[in-house]
């Protein structure tokens, strides 16, 4: 029995004052691996691992879009990125990896967040926003990379006032592995004593991982959270047994206390974990509601201008 447990487990350490406790962690088994597919999102070609054919969502996560581009330069900012569009009923989040993203919205928020930072928007009752590469990247060219993922909002928060939380790289708490080769940015939720600064509508743990080749780390996850891992590049070994390639999304069973990651190559990855909301979901285009009627009401309110209007100003 002891041998069996060990073969599916990993050891991690808890620091309490000056004492170090080694804890045997039962790792979660892999439920499925889903390769990204290319999609056209309003003219922008993206990698999309979620939704996947046969996998509509991993409650509360509805979508992962990976946008990796190299801008040629000599473009006006108004001609690049994603122009004004509405949302209601969920939280679109952008983790920025390269370049900068200029956010503007109908509630008056405007900010540019660069690599390592996060744009966290609760769309609530409704908002119209645009997401464009920063002006200097449009003009001078350069790398532009982000992941946008969607977190469903519980029904009781779907009609909240929309909010926007920008977070820079410097404001993102970091945890480093004992071998010094894995750095974890804690965006939302609590991880090994660090609290992510983002306020959320449901229980979440959202992490950014930067792993050097050979780096290893145990990632404890609350046992009642669904969990996803998505590597942007590189190769990872999970739980000591399974190699995961770039742009392949791994979904884990809720049968353990965490996962063990080891970088075969330098790798950047995200971990999205969250307590399932367990409510009906009707998701069409930019709206995520609990019924089809509510989607129609969102369309009605958007057409009536109730989600606000956004007139972008370009300098």
């Amino acid at each position: 029995m002891t041998i069996h447990l060990y073969s599916y487990s990993s050891i991690f350490y808890i620091f309490v004052g000056t004492h170090i406790f080694a804890v045997l962690m039962k790792t979660r088994s892999i439920k499925g691996i889903y390769p990204s597919v290319k999609v056209n999102m309003g003219g922008v070609i993206l990698d999309q691992p979620l939704p996947y054919r046969g996998l509509d969502m991993v409650d509360p996560f509805l979508l992962i879009h990976h946008w990796d581009d190299k801008l040629p330069g000599r473009q006006h900012q108004s001609k690049v990125g994603v122009g004004p569009h509405p949302h209601r009923g969920f939280t679109p989040v952008s983790f920025i990896f390269k370049g900068g993203v200029h956010h503007r919205d109908s509630r008056g928020h405007e900010s540019i967040i660069y690599g390592g930072g996060t744009q966290w928007m609760n769309s609530g009752y409704g908002i119209v926003h645009s997401e464009r590469p920063a002006k200097e990247i449009a003009q001078d060219g350069g790398d532009f990379e982000l992941i946008q993922f969607w977190v469903n909002a519980p029904a009781k928060h779907k009609f909240d006032e929309a909010t926007y939380q920008p977070l820079n790289a410097s404001g993102t708490p970091k945890v480093t592995s004992s071998d010094g080769k894995v750095e974890v940015g804690v965006v939302a939720g609590e991880f090994l004593g660090k609290q992510g600064p983002i306020e959320t509508h449901s229980q979440l743990l959202n992490l950014r991982l930067d792993l050097q080749a050979g780096g290893k780390m145990d990632i404890p996850l609350p046992s009642d959270y669904n969990a996803i891992l998505y590597p942007l590049d590189g190769v990872l070994k999970l739980n000591g047994e399974r190699a995961i390639n770039a742009k392949d999304m791994t979904v884990f069973e809720m049968d353990g206390e965490g996962i063990h990651v080891e970088a075969i190559k330098d790798t950047r990855a995200i971990i999205l974990a969250g307590q399932p909301i367990g409510e009906p979901v009707v998701s069409y285009g930019p709206f995520v509601m609990n019924s089809q009627r509510e989607v129609m009401e969102a369309i009605r309110d958007y057409q009536a201008g109730k989600l606000g209007t956004l007139k972008e100003k370009f300098s």
């Binding site: 597919v37 939704p51 509805l62 009627r293 129609m296 369309i299 009605r300 057409q303």
Partner: protein
């Protein structure tokens, strides 16, 4: 009843802002000349498909064939699985009749109508003051003397003796009979007040 010849736009999209001269050779003489079709029949551009997220906004179509009391907007198709087109997608059709917005939202199960603040789940043959929908295998006759626009949104329809496919529409002020034989067919008839 006098027969006339008709013009039909090709399937080339007449998306917002596109001017008539840019159509070039896409303006084709039509072949449908059934009795009672007095104005002409045309085709709307295909609905814009959306993966999850999408880039949804309302774009008015520049469709010169439409009467002045009617504006039609780009149609949208929201993919059910968030990835690609399927028979269960949710679609919208939006127009403004004398400035009043009407949106139909429909999939293979149900039809919703938005008019003003109201969101109504439509029955098979809804009749409001300035529009009517025809859903499924059914037929109606339109009276003489009042201009109307008949748009086939889904499936096929027969107007008098002519077959109309999804996206095709007719402008008429004569007595016509609209018949649908497929359960998923959906047409909308729009009138000025």
């Amino acid at each position: 009843m006098e027969r006339r010849s008709f013009l039909k736009w090709s399937t080339t999209a007449l998306a917002g802002g596109m001017s008539l001269p840019s159509l070039g050779s896409s303006l084709l003489p039509g072949a449908k000349t059934a009795p009672g079709l007095v104005e002409g029949f045309y085709q709307l551009p295909a609905a814009k498909g959306h993966v999850r997220h999408g880039l949804f906004n309302l774009q008015k179509l520049n469709q010169p064939a439409l009467p002045k009391w009617l504006e039609v907007f780009e149609q949208h198709r929201f993919f059910k699985d968030g990835i690609s087109e399927s028979g269960s997608d949710f679609k919208t059709f939006t127009c403004a009749i004398e400035g009043e917005m009407i949106t139909l939202g429909y999939d293979d199960q149900q039809v919703f109508i938005i008019q003003g603040e109201e969101v109504i789940e439509a029955s098979d043959s809804n009749r409001a003051k300035n529009f009517q929908i025809l859903r499924g295998a059914s037929s109606i006759e339109l009276e003489d003397g009042k201009e109307s626009v008949i748009i086939v949104l889904e499936g096929k329809a027969v107007i008098n003796d002519e077959r109309f496919a999804s996206g095709e529409f007719l402008v008429s002020d004569q007595r016509v009979r609209l018949t649908q034989q497929e359960t998923h067919s959906l047409s909308v008839i729009l009138y000025p007040s």
